[in-house]
Symmetry: C2
Subunit: 155 residues, 2 copies
Amino acid sequence: MTSPWLDEQQQQTWRTWLAVAELLPRVLDAQLQRDAGLTHAAYVVLAMLSEAPDRRRRMSELARMANQSQSRLSHTVARLEDRGWVRREKAADDGRGNVCVLTDDGWDVVARVAPGHVAAVREGFFAAMTTEQAAALQGALTAVLDGLEPDRTQR
Amino acid sequence: MTSPWLDEQQQQTWRTWLAVAELLPRVLDAQLQRDAGLTHAAYVVLAMLSEAPDRRRRMSELARMANQSQSRLSHTVARLEDRGWVRREKAADDGRGNVCVLTDDGWDVVARVAPGHVAAVREGFFAAMTTEQAAALQGALTAVLDGLEPDRTQR
């Protein structure tokens, strides 16, 4: 019979996971707040739009890519819209669903903030690891993600 | 000169990290909400107290162990206190600072909820990995954590 508890090694791994998952976003949020008054969740939305053809994506696609629920994304997008960085439109092709569009001002924000954000990710995350460790981490996390959301493989 | 951007491999690793860091807590929160109306942050506080001598810890120590800011911990503890699961006391030894104590009812909650929570952690996280992958993950995350909070090594 399997013990219901984690073994000592797993417990240590889990606590390390929890600490990094809590502390790293705080570091990234602080940098984004300082540089642009942005939360990390809001930055991710802008960045995903900046990479899209015509700088626009369906709200449903954006929610999936940003790992946000539809309701949380709506909230994030509403606040970005208030600042003039995105706007919502009806989808042109079939009239169903909404599309989120990055404005020129929003594009400028991404262009201005991205280098500092990427530097923070490199410094806070990748700089600590060897290339081999990063690859091993990627392997382990991909396996976890496949278990959480089997449909996401091949992305 | 180093490129300011992440290379393709790093970008994929980073996106996988973001997805797991967003989706896994949602799975764990859902289980804890269903079983006890608890957030994961609140559960961690109860669990850390349940492992302490006399089921009590200083608030400052608890904040560090639960990776929560003092203000966020105060909020979490206030809500647990409302439910009768913890109580706050002045530290007995020197009168400075507050101590958080797990009540008998709080102990019962941990005892009731922990098996389901641990099962969710095993299923959502460790079941997806080989032992070697878990060890590699631990190595990479420990390096990240050391960079974020050098004082935490040796824990």
